[in-house]
Each structure stands twice: as C-alpha cells, then as structure tokens.
Symmetry: C2
Subunit: 446 residues, 2 copies
Amino acid sequence: MTSLQERKITKNLPSPQRFKVGMIGGGTVSSSAYAILSGDSSGNHLLSRIEVVSVAVRDLKKIRLIPQDILTDNPDSIVDDPNIEIVVELMGGTEKARELIERALRNGKHVITANKSLVARHGNELDALAARAGVSFKYEAAVAGGIPILRTLKTSLGANKLRKTMGIVNGTCNYIVTQMSDHQMSFTDALAKAQELGFAEADPTFDVGGRDAAEKNVILSKVAFGKDVDVSQVLADPELVKGITSIESRDIECARKLGFTIKLLAVSEIKPDGKLLFFVSPHLVENKHPLAAVKDAYNAIFIEGDPVGDLMLYGKGAGGGPTASAVVGDILNVVEGISSGVPVISASTLGSAEFATLSKEMHSKFYLRLLTQNCPTAFGGIMWLFGEANIAPEMVQQSITDRGLLEIVIITEAVSSQKLHNALRIISGLPYFEKTVNALPLLEAS
Amino acid sequence: MTSLQERKITKNLPSPQRFKVGMIGGGTVSSSAYAILSGDSSGNHLLSRIEVVSVAVRDLKKIRLIPQDILTDNPDSIVDDPNIEIVVELMGGTEKARELIERALRNGKHVITANKSLVARHGNELDALAARAGVSFKYEAAVAGGIPILRTLKTSLGANKLRKTMGIVNGTCNYIVTQMSDHQMSFTDALAKAQELGFAEADPTFDVGGRDAAEKNVILSKVAFGKDVDVSQVLADPELVKGITSIESRDIECARKLGFTIKLLAVSEIKPDGKLLFFVSPHLVENKHPLAAVKDAYNAIFIEGDPVGDLMLYGKGAGGGPTASAVVGDILNVVEGISSGVPVISASTLGSAEFATLSKEMHSKFYLRLLTQNCPTAFGGIMWLFGEANIAPEMVQQSITDRGLLEIVIITEAVSSQKLHNALRIISGLPYFEKTVNALPLLEAS
C-alpha cells in the first residue's frame, strides 16, 4: 500500500454516523441482504450502523419484503446519490452493471457485487479503477456463495506462497454427479431432478458445460495468484473447459469400483516458471480425498500453500441466504474500514493482476474409457500404440458392451496431458476405433 | 467501534517505515515464522515491510536458523523496547507468558500469540486490556493451527447469527481414531504409532483426555458467540469433557457397521435462552457428514449459521508451518491496520465476552454399548427400564462377548442427555449389570 493510497483511504473512512447503502437489483439475494441489514442487529455494533436507503428494482409493482418508499426503478439515481457511500450491485448482466459500477467507483463509492460474469470479464480494470479512486471493490459472493474464499485467500493466507486451488464451484454439476453416484441415476434423470428442485436452470448449458465454473476459476486465479486470465480465450478452448455432459453412469460405476468419485473441478495452479495451469474438467477424486465428500449442491475449494499445507473451505455455493451472507460480510468489511480495495496479494500492483500466460502442461494419472469394434487385434493394437507413445497403463480392464463393442478402461501412469492427447489422437486413427468416451485426470489423496 | 477507539487505533496505525517485530520463544513455530518474515517477500508489499529485530530464547547457545545477533535471553527487553511495535509470544506456559503479554499491551504494543492455554484462561481480560490500550491482541494460531477459523468467525461471518460450532480440533485424537478405524488398530497401538510419528506427546493425557480440545472450545465459544467460558469449571466436570480413552476397537466396528465413524468433537451451541451448550465428547458421525472425511492429524470446524447455512473449514491443526502461517497472518493483519482488537461479534462490549451460563441439555440420538452378565432376564430387564424411562431404542442388537458377557448395542431415539443419564444410572443398579462402556451422541448428515 503506498502512502498516497493510505491518504485516499483515510479520506474515505466512514464517519461515526450511519453508513448509507444503495442496492441495485430486487431478487432473492437482495431481499435476503435487506432482511439482514434491516433486522435485529443486537450484538453487532457495525450492523446497527448500516442503513439501506434505496433499492433499484425493475418492476416497482411487484410485491417484495422491501418497503415501497425506498424502491426506485432508476439505478442511476443510486450511483449518483451523494449521500450513498456503498453501492451493492445485484442486478446481474455485464453491460449495464459494468457502467453503473464504474460510475459508482468514479463517484467515490465503495462497490460490492455478486456478479461473477462481470468480475470474470472486467474485474481487473474495476479493481484498478477502485484503487485509483481509493475505494473498495469487493465480490466475495461471486465465487462459491457463502464460503468466504476470496477473503481467506487475500488476508488469512497472506503469509503463504499459494501453489494450487481446486474447486467444486458449480452446485448444479455437483448435485447431478452426486445423484448419479449415490442413487445410480442417469445424467438425464439427475438433470431433470436438479431442474425440478431449482438446482438447475431451464437451459442448463452454462452450468453443465463447465462455463460457470470457468468464470469462477478466473476470479480465483486472480485473487490467489494475481493472474488475470482472459475469460473469452478460456471459454473458447474446449481443451480448457470441459463440463459433465460426457459423464455416463458407466463412468461413475467404473470410478466407484476403483475407489473414486467423479467431481467437476476447476483447477488453477501456478507453475515454477510463472505460467498458470488453468482448466475445468471432471476428475476422478479418490474417495479418501476431502473433496470426494462434498455432496449435492455444496461447494468447496481446496488450497495448497506453503507453509499452511492443505486447506479446504466447504459450504453452500448458491441461494439467497448464503450469497447474502457474503454480500453483507463485504459491506461490514467496508464499514469496518478494513478494506483498501487492494488485495494483499497484489498490493504492489495497485489492484491489477498481471496478464496470465497459460500452460497446458498438466502431469497426472488419467482415467480413460475407450470404445472399439470387437475385433481380435483391437486390444493389442491399442496397447501397442500406448507403448509406442511411452505411456504405461497402471490398470487395464476390458469388457463387451450391450452394443457388442469392446470397452477398454485404463488408469495410466502419471503422464503429461499433451503426450496423452497425442497418443489418443493416433489411436483414434485405428480403423476399428470407435471413440474416447472420457479421458479424465485423477486426484489421489496424499 | 466507538469514535474514542477509532482515534486510539489511528494513533497506532503503522508508519510507512518498516514494522519492528519482537518474538518470544525459539521453537519450531518461531523458526518457521522467522523464515517467512525474513524470506522472499516479492509480490507481498506488506511482508516486505516487516522486520524481526529481536528473538528471545531460553538457550542462546542452541543452533538455530535465526541469526545470533538478534537473539536475547531476556524477554523483558522485548516487551519494554520502545522500537518494537508488535510482540509475538510463542514461549508457551501461562504465568510468565501472561505477565509479558500484559506488559506489552500496556506498553502500547500489538500482541500475537499461539498460546491456547493462556487464551483459554485469560483471553477475555487480555482482550479487554488490548481494547483499552487501543492495540490488537490476536491468537488465530491458538485454535486449529493453519485454519483461519477465528478470523472467519469474526469477520467473514459478521452478517450471520451463528448457532453452533463442532470441531475436530485435536490432531492426536483424530490420528488415533483414524488409525483405529482405517487400519483396525487397538487404541494402545494407535497411540504408540502416534507417539512414534510425533503426533502425540510422551504423556498423552492432556490430548486423549479431551482437555486440549476443551481449551480450544473455550476460545471458539468466545469468538463465535461472545461467551466467556470458565475453563477450570469445564475441565473439572467429566460430564463436559470426555476424551477418547474409552473407545475400543469394538465401538469402532459397531459404528462402521451402522454407517458411522467415531470422531472426537468439541461442540459449542448457543441456545435460544442464551445459555451455552459446551462439551467435548467422542461422537458417532454419519459417514456422509463432511466431518467424517476428516482423517489423520487434520482438523476441521463445522459451523451452522443463519443465513450462511453449513460451513466447514479443514486443514492442518498443528506443526511449525501451519501454525506459523496463522501467526504471520495475524502480523500481516495488524500491519494492514485492519485490526481493531475488537472482534466484530463483540464490538459493543469492548472485546469482553460475557460470562457463559452453561446448559447441559443436549438433545440427540445416542449410541450405547452396555455389558451385563449373561442371564436370561438381563436383556428384558434393561429394555423394561428404558421403557420406564420413556426412551425408545431405534435399534438394538445383542451378542455374547469373548468373556461370556452379554453385550447390548443400542441406538436411541433423540432424547435429552439428562433423561438418558438418569436411565443409565438406574440401569447400572441392576444386580447383573456390568458397565456402560460408552454412551456417545450421534451426528447425522442433514
């Protein structure tokens, strides 16, 4: 923190009067946050000093648990109101929300948002803008709902060199794979159940395709490693973002027999050369690993750091209450005067993370499930090509599917992902080869 | 935070120069903390501004990784040194450490300690003293090593009404029960292995008797609920503090067959009437519950709050590195000017938690293992007395032990613990009754 900044921050320190908050958006998170801020604040001196003075909603006539007299349908009036010190953006979307947040920051207001897509796309510029304006820009709720992962990475782990984060950060996917694992459901049935229970959208593509997890991983990479990942580059690369749509009941069954559970993990790892290994993929997680015990719609982030060792935070990743807990936590943090807008981890760079150079060099054991026509030389041919590629299988099993195909399940030794994909490309050229159903990294318990 | 305090804190805000730290104690945590503070601080502007200027050790001649020229054998020189802003107490023990910390606080220094016994005994007075002096008193490392549980409770969850904390906070006990469960070891063999690996002391009484977990639970109760628990009252009451010495391989086996794992949990729960349910006891934890997946010497704290829902933090609870991560995290927190010495949760009480009135009213299902002489009426007699006490068993099984006794294993319906203990007292009066081997609460997954 430079002394210039210190001065700026001091300027923005809250007065001992009540802190005036304006909220943009009238959905469930907004209502939950309003309920906390207007509810019983006994025992919490800070909470009692916060006052929500204005809430911008789209439809003024809709019945809500927020008093009519503080509602407005004009969000501009909030970001321009000189009495409002803290703006909470919960409207969603990226364009209008970005414009409003930028204006609020330029107007010297602290800004809190739960808008993951916005922060993944523009977080770095907004961080820098907030730092220049000497105000806070906070987005704890954008990753893993109620789990205070960003603050933990920024503050509590400040003494550590962080190496890696692995997150179950999409509740929809985790609910589906849990149903498939624990109740032997098909992907389709599990998805339908998730939709019925409100754990999945009518159009689930964004979640089950891994894109939601990728956006959250962009934010995690920024906060944990100070690396700014280009979200559109990542989302355009199917090698970097794989969802759970390829996972079949048979994969779940094979994993179980091997002592593993399938989980969609968002991985971010800083390499010794400074490059960032960034990807989202289903993994086979060994049952003894704490991430394997994360069930249903719960989220968890597993962190490897030095000297803290392994650390995991587990909790509810979505829903009005947990998300509001994070939003109000950020408000309290600002009110406490704690916030400088400059994460410890990137204090020297005025809030801007540096551009991330991505690495695709992953070294891991892999689970492979391959289908070929059932001809006598198929198995030998494929094994021969793995040998040629210098990849040794740790375990191989073959069986005949209902459709009369030969199914080969392999656990490889630890190999480079590039080497493996090269080998799989060559194998896919065999005349009798049908398809690689899945090639998933293994996460073993240490 | 009162404006008076704000002024005091501002007075103590760090200058832009380097922050001078004095450490008391020369053990492994101290060495690890020194290594972080004197090591590569690139990318961490705050870390680069901290300088360890003096370390007090008992034996100046012992070879350490701390330079000779900053060593002293006089800890008083550190707490009285006007150049030192932050004192880190890592010497252990309660009397001398308390005296030094008090003097440091009175001298206007921020104090950080990892001294669990001291904080459990005198934390409340020291918190109050720090608040009066306008400085920080921090002890993240005193509970669960590298897991940033106290800061999470104090800050990130400030928007929540917390209801309950359940912690696996003693690594020795967790290592022993894990060995007993996963490797079918006896308690004695598991303890011997833990001692061999350095996970248990030569005299393990303090750990395996649950006293260490009870001290940590006193600190958790204070930070989570603002309740000051009298540690000596608690330690003197065997109903409140049970260790794992009564756990036999047979209990582990019975638990496994029922789908449960035995874990020593420290429980603290605020009741609607403001009383605190506080106890340490082995529990049968359902395998699906995230706490069941916490293995070996790992620690975890499970929190129930509103609106955040369930939250769990998992990590290494001991060892030089993880503990130093917490200690240096506290130093960075102080240096950031974040700290006010007044936890959010008790901001209105100037750092003092209020005296806790303890409740013994626990409502839970219980696992019971009883031994009686093998006479024809024994089973019926005991069942009859449970019926008289209006306690219905959900599951009962009986078998004959190697010694020819009748063993009765019962899972009760959810009952009040007092009602259960009254019934067990009456049953123990039966002429053929031998003993209640264990009566442990169940923790089911929600």
